[in-house]
């Protein structure tokens, strides 16, 4: 064996082992890469969420000011405790859902087409099995217009609704939820995440835009109000699928937290990233004062400072001057173009009554025959200022005023204007001893002819008396004005919403045939604010 050749080489096990070690190393390296990339994305998302949190904090503390970005809220869901809840393990039940009105959802919850009308939301009562009340409005209705105009204010008011049940507060299974496309972030997300304003078209990139579920948990404690806001993101495919199938946001969050399947859909939402912030303030959370909670006279006067900030000073002397008595023989007091501003008088033939306009020294024509009827208005139609209320000037609706025909005794006859129709004809109302309201189209005791006055004040009422009622709270509303050292300040912002009950007066008007009232959303939730 002298010439025996010894060949030294790696054996197959050695090579296999070496390859194994290298492969193991490579796999380890490659498996780390996604973590690095995910960490970058997570950092970006964290930054965005922090910016979003700052926005929501200031927006809620400011009591939902008018900000166009609230159109990025796609859906709001509110919950309530099941009747008689004392068990801290119980979860809140879904009460109301509101959809972004700009979306124009064209079908009802059952999928039935609405044919020119849109679904704005729905409310369930405590009987979860009963069909919910759906809020459906025609696209061209004033109520729908107002729902869009008040969407921001409504969202803020709903989200601030405090928990009213201690068991739920303890359980933590409650809150008001919103589905939001983020305001901050890449411009791609901002533009592609924009509200599509229709369900008809597809916006394929929209799902890629960053969005999140916002949970707001407000409650009042002994020292003031507190709001916890939590963010859940990203919206995984499972979450998007569930949202598209109208699964509740609370259940989606629960499924993600507990890793249990969604009842009904059966899928489990992966764990969301989440972040929570707590806002504490000495200001308590109180119900919003709605315009519909004011009587017509209060509405008219409060419209005068309607756009002022809370705490802003109201010049009462100027208010009295601006809302001074109107005299039909001094139409607009000569402040407007006198060539088109003609004097007025009432006529009454015991069948109909109306307004006549003096076209020259001796000639009076019926309002309907007056050529400038739509320039030089007699009674301004109420519909004109349903959409947008500015300070109540003479050229804006007359509802809430009192008619004083010359020669008629008061207070037996107090003609309170409830509504002015599109023919510039006022509808009057009378409060009955029973508390009911009667609408009067043909008013008694009206003279056959004569001039008239319009006044913001009731017969025998003084401005001091009226202002005195505004600085007081009553059973229905809070203070409208604050008085301090002889000066007056706006006590709270009076808000408007489509989602509310109709007032008795509105119901009476609707019964009398005045059209255009919104649905009676008796079960709609209250709006809330920081006082």
């Amino acid at each position: 064996m002298k010439n025996m050749v010894t060949i030294r080489a790696f054996t197959l096990p050695e090579i296999t082992l070496a390859i194994g070690v290298v492969a193991f190393g490579l796999v380890a390296i490659f498996s780390i890469l996604p973590f690095g990339l995910t960490a970058q994305k997570d950092n970006r998302d964290d930054t965005i969420i922090r910016l979003e949190a700052e926005f929501w904090k200031d927006w809620l503390l400011l009591n939902a000011p008018s900000v166009e970005d609230i159109r990025r809220v796609e859906r709001v869901e509110l919950y309530q405790a099941p009747t008689g809840t004392t068990n801290t393990m119980v979860r809140a039940q879904q009460k109301s859902v509101f959809f972004n009105p700009f979306r124009k959802i064209p079908s009802s919850l059952t999928g039935a087409p609405l044919n020119g009308r849109v679904l704005l939301g729905y409310t369930r009562d405590s009987n979860a099995a009963a069909p919910p009340d759906e809020y459906i409005y025609p696209l061209n209705s004033v109520a729908y217009f107002n729902a869009k105009a008040n969407w921001g204010s409504d969202v803020g008011g709903w989200l601030l609704g405090p928990v009213d049940n201690n068991a739920l507060l303890v359980s933590g299974h409650w809150g008001n939820f919103a589905l939001v496309k983020s305001l901050n972030g890449s411009l791609f997300d901002r533009l592609y995440g924009a509200e599509p304003e229709t369900e008809i078209y597809g916006y394929p990139e929209r799902d890629f835009a960053m969005g999140y579920i916002l949970q707001v948990e407000p409650w009042n404690h002994a020292d003031g109000g507190q709001v916890k806001i939590s963010f859940y993101w990203p919206l995984f495919d499972e979450a998007k699928q569930a949202i598209k199938q109208n699964e509740s946001l609370m259940e989606i969050v629960r499924s993600s937290k507990t890793q249990s399947p969604l009842i009904g859909l059966g899928l489990t939402v992966p764990r969301f990233n989440s972040k929570s912030y707590v806002i504490r303030t000495p200001r308590r959370i109180v119900p919003v004062t709605l315009r519909s909670q004011l009587n017509l006279q209060e509405r008219r006067v409060s419209d005068y400072w309607g756009q002022s900030a809370e705490g802003g000073e109201v010049d009462i002397a100027q208010l009295k001057k601006d809302m001074s008595l109107y005299n039909s023989t001094n139409h607009f007091g000569g402040t407007l173009n006198t060539s088109t501003n003609k004097d007025r008088r009432i006529f009454n033939n015991n069948i109909n009554w109306g307004v006549e306009v003096r076209t020259n020294d001796t000639q009076w024509v019926n309002q309907s025959a007056y050529p400038n009827a739509w320039v030089d208005l007699s009674f301004v139609p109420s519909r004109f200022n349903l959409k947008q209320r500015t300070a109540q000037r003479w050229d804006i609706g007359r509802a809430g005023m009192y008619l004083y025909p010359e020669g008629v005794a008061h207070p037996a006859n107090e003609f309170s204007i409830a509504w002015v129709d599109s023919f510039q004809r006022p509808w009057f109302y009378k409060t009955l001893p029973t508390g009911g309201i009667r609408i009067l189209q043909q008013i008694p005791d009206l003279p056959r002819s004569g001039k008239y006055k319009l006044n913001t004040l009731k017969y025998g009422q003084s401005w001091d008396q009226l202002i005195g009622t505004l600085v007081q709270t009553n059973a229905i509303r809070g203070k409208l004005l604050e008085q301090s050292e002889g000066r007056f300040y706006v006590a709270c912002r009076v808000r408007e919403t489509t989602h509310r009950s109709l007032t008795p007066l509105e119901k009476a008007l609707a019964r009398a045939g005045v059209s255009g009232w919104q649905s009676n959303e008796d079960k709609a939730p209250q709006l809330w604010r920081f006082e």
């Binding site: 930054t47 400011l62 997300d189 533009l191 304003e197 504490r280």
Partner: protein, 375 residues
């Protein structure tokens, strides 16, 4: 002795074929690994660039918010508490353009229409498809100042300006065109383009155009990208802060005079500091009441004079990430050579519109009434 293999009489080495095979495999592996590394590296750089942009934007917004939070009313008599400024100079532009930069967008970017599909018809139909209204992003270049209270008082001015210099000069554009945009008719100077769909149509641009430059101003500037500049007066007491505003104005005047006389301006850029680079949008709006929306005001309509408080301020900022900034600025220089400045600006805006995922938007609502703490 170079090989681990050896025989007793003669050295054995790898054959040429073996070596070539090994080299080929090695090269193949190196190429794969390089590609992988390159991909990872570029993803990392993009991610890093985004992270930096987010960080820069967040810091800038924090600083802006901190200053606005201490905005004080009633300092300068009838001097508005928050003042939006016109451009630094008005050259050959009619007087009604003076406040152009305050109330008008200077441009717009939007995704192309074809990105919004009609599911019913499964086709692109510009006549039927409504692009979501806020999917169009209007660009503003604001310049505003206010007094900051607190322990020490300051006069503060935030201004969108060029990347190298804070100045923004209005100048009439000789190549102006009048066009119809989005159902509105503007007797203004508008440039439109959309390289994603079709050549620009100046008559009915609402069908195709997703990039708009709309102004008669800054036509000597060849880019829509600028920087956010800030001027801080020295700390002072309340009684002297109006004087600081005058001192600032004097500095600006001196700078202008120096420039107009052929100089390079003052050495210190009139004490402006560049807060953040790569900005395409800076907008400040304010409101005096929760019931009113926010807006910007020309001086004659400014409601925030005397003791009329600003209730809340909304600040918006949009910035490019550094990589995109480089691509849009230096990267396109050669490609745009010879084009007039306004065309260069337009083409650059187009490039930005193609990379919306690399442009970052920040919005802050600044509650000047306080009212809560947070944790």
């Amino acid at each position: 002795m170079t090989s681990g293999l050896r025989s007793s009489g003669r050295k054995r080495a790898f054959t040429m074929v073996e070596l070539m095979g090994a080299t080929t495999i090695a090269i193949f592996l190196i190429i794969i690994l390089y590609n992988l590394f390159d991909k990872v590296q570029s993803v990392f750089v993009v991610g890093q660039s985004r992270a930096l942009a987010m960080e820069d934007g967040r810091i800038a917004m924090d600083l802006v918010a901190e200053d606005f939070l201490l905005l004080e009313s009633g300092v300068g008599g009838e001097r508005p508490n928050l003042l939006w400024h016109e451009a630094d100079g008005v050259l050959g532009v009619s007087s009604n353009w003076k406040f152009y930069m305050i109330t008008n967008r200077v441009g717009r970017v939007a995704p192309p229409y074809r990105n919004f599909l009609d599911l019913n018809r499964n086709m692109f139909d510009t006549n039927r498809i409504a692009r979501p209204t806020d999917s169009k992003f209007d660009l503003y270049h604001h310049d505003c100042s206010f007094f900051r209270g607190g322990d020490y008082w300051k006069y503060i001015r935030y201004k969108f300006g060029g990347r190298e210099n804070y100045r923004t000069i209005l100048k009439q554009d000789p190549a102006r065109v009048n066009v119809r945009v989005d159902e509105e008719y503007f007797q203004e100077y508008i440039y439109l383009a959309n390289q994603f769909t079709a050549p620009p149509n100046p008559v009915y641009p609402h069908n195709i155009n997703n990039v708009v430059i709309r102004n008669p101003v800054i036509d000597q500037v060849d880019t829509p990208v600028g920087a956010l500049w800030v001027y801080y007066s020295p700390d002072t007491v309340k009684g002297r802060v109006l004087g600081e505003e005058m001192r600032h104005q004097q500095l600006i005047r001196l700078d202008s005079q120096n420039l107009n006389q052929g100089g390079a301006g003052l050495d210190e850029l009139s004490a402006y500091e560049k807060l953040i680079d790569g900005v395409i949008h800076f907008r400040v709006r304010a409101s005096r009441s929760e019931a009113l929306g926010v807006r910007e005001y020309v001086p004659s309509e400014n409601p925030f004079s005397g003791f009329e408080d600003v209730r809340y301020v909304e600040v918006e900022l949009a910035i490019l990430d550094r990589k995109l900034l480089k691509e849009v600025e230096e990267g396109m220089e050669q490609q745009l050579e010879g084009l007039p400045p306004v065309q260069k600006r337009l083409r650059r805006l187009e490039r930005i519109a193609e990379n919306l995922d690399r442009v970052y938007f920040f919005k802050k609502l600044i509650n000047l009434q306080g009212g809560g703490g947070n944790e």
